[in-house]
Symmetry: C2
Subunit: 333 residues, 2 copies
């Protein structure tokens, strides 16, 4: 295992120290338990947005804490759910009296722990709603998951709901908006290589020198199939066809196209994928009106990509375009 780390047991702790040292202007890091919190939280009268999940997917979620996006993020150990006490501490730290929305990716551990934390927070008088993201069309059930996995749409939901909360929407409204994003988004990913969890010290799975995995999960969970590596345009067809067919996306739709790198993929390759996706969608009369290209929901050093499409209307577009100021996503601020 070759990694830029010290003790594998300290990976998350030391990375969070780095985050705190680097971005103290926008966030602070609580350490007992670990929660990344917006510097000026709680913002009085504003709905608080909390997400979280295993580490190893950076910049998600801690890198999306700041004005216009999340108020707090709970980082678990690598590929491991955070605990209810982290989620409770985060919820309390960001409640400005307007309630807190939990944005939860659909993994069984996350679901159970967020439910427990929501119950505990409600007992303390905090209004909490939770929305589960389950946009991955690759598999119906999966390792760690009943139902579809939550992947790339999480980033888009956090950005869009963050803008709505910033503009003063109520908890019920922000939760509805989050459900709307989830309902209009579909994703699928693939891997050329595996990744190694530091504490494990060996690759999560093995892929042959000429193999790729289509429909991979963000923890290296099995996807739909293994097949021989293929040109980017075939990879795009394999990912985008089930995405487009599922919602479905149709001629005349405007979409946000999110081409995500899995952590070890050169940016030059993501632009080739984007170019092939642009053609694929253009052939079907689907217009890309917004895009996001880069490593935003990653799987350590895995090489590969995922595609997320979100059907846009004027409301979603305006919230997407609104200012955001986080370490991982920033514009207009």
């Amino acid at each position: 295992m070759k990694k830029l780390i010290n003790d594998p047991a300290d990976v998350v702790k030391e990375a969070l120290q780095g985050v705190a040292e680097a971005h103290g202007d926008r966030l602070r890091v609580l350490t007992d338990p670990y929660v990344v919190v917006r510097a000026d939280a709680p913002v009085q009268g504003k709905v608080g947005l909390l997400s979280g999940g295993g580490s190893g997917h950076e910049p998600m979620h801690g890198g999306f804490v700041g004005p216009g996006m999340l108020d707090a993020a709970c980082p678990g150990e690598v590929f491991t759910s955070p605990t209810p006490d982290q989620m409770l501490a985060g919820t309390k730290a960001i409640d400005g009296g307007a309630g807190v929305l939990h944005i939860v990716k659909n993994y069984t551990g996350d679901i159970l722990n967020f439910e427990m934390a929501a119950d505990l927070a409600r007992e303390e008088g905090i209004e909490v709603e939770a929305v589960v993201i389950d946009d991955d069309v690759a598999v119906q059930d999966s390792l760690y998951t009943a139902g579809r996995r939550g992947v790339g749409a999480t980033v888009l939901a956090e950005k869009i709901c963050g803008a709505a909360a910033e503009q003063g929407q109520s908890l019920a409204e922000v939760a509805d908006l989050c459900r709307k994003v989830n309902a209009n988004a579909r994703s699928m990913g693939m891997a050329l290589t595996s990744c190694t969890v530091p504490a494990a010290g060996k690759p999560t799975f093995e892929l042959g020198a000429q193999e790729m995995e289509i429909g991979i999960g963000i923890h290296g969970e099995p996807g739909r199939e293994r097949r021989a590596v293929a040109p980017a345009r075939e990879v795009v067809e394999l990912l985008a066809t089930p995405i487009v067919d599922d919602l479905p996306f149709s001629s005349g739709d405007r979409v946000l196209a999110f081409v995500n790198g899995m952590g070890g993929t050169p940016l030059i390759e993501l632009y080739i994928v984007y170019n092939d996706l642009y053609r694929f969608l253009g052939d079907r009369g689907i217009e890309i009106s917004r895009n996001l290209i880069g490593p935003y929901i990653t799987s350590l050093e895995m090489q590969g990509c995922s595609i997320t499409l979100l059907k846009l209307d004027d409301e979603l577009t305006a919230f997407w375009d609104a200012p955001v100021n986080t370490p991982g996503l920033r514009w207009g601020a």
Copy 2:
């Protein structure tokens, strides 16, 4: 070779198509010859900023075209200098009457071609200045280089000079500023793994399973030494000590600390490196007052990192903080 590409011969062309399709709001891509040009170029009365170099280092340079940074970037084939006709076309496309600054990384091919292009542009009546960036302390001469290589300081120079040009500084002033950035910046990089140029199809160099290369170049050129992989804090000492000793950086200095990912490095690892760098500099009384953490000058899918330190004063800090709106670097806009 596992890559998200189609024909290896089309990598740069197709990636540039993707860039043009994705970022048409900020830039356009000339195709004969290839130049990435700011959408509203030439900006009348503003000094034009041109850079360029081999592809494979994305987002540098094409991803830094836009308001507040570069006016144009000339992309060569992967790890190959662009041609004088690209540089001439870029220079002509961005000359708004106030002259054009060429920001050139110190590689022999780049130097020769930029000199030829500057001569040709001057013959056409365009005022051109060139500044060579040579911030890499790893080796004095190198494969492809007489003198030190130009690496991470290039990103900082492009941002800072971009701000100065936007604010109406003259060509002589922007060129002086660029020399000032170069004079006050030092860098060094390392690799855990090699990278594969698509047209070559095999790794540029080989590293053993327990080896790392200290002082690596951004094309995989040899560095100072190969040694056994070590904890991140030792890696930071190996990179930061020669950087600090060279300028030198001293107690009381304020710096911009740039922790750069080589393309295949997970962000969580870069924050561990940043944490160790923060301690290393803190022990020496050097204060990090600005930072940049992520993959900005990459070497395809290479795993590793580089550290760049830039000594800041109020002038450089203000230009760094000024708004920038490019695909690769964006804030305040």
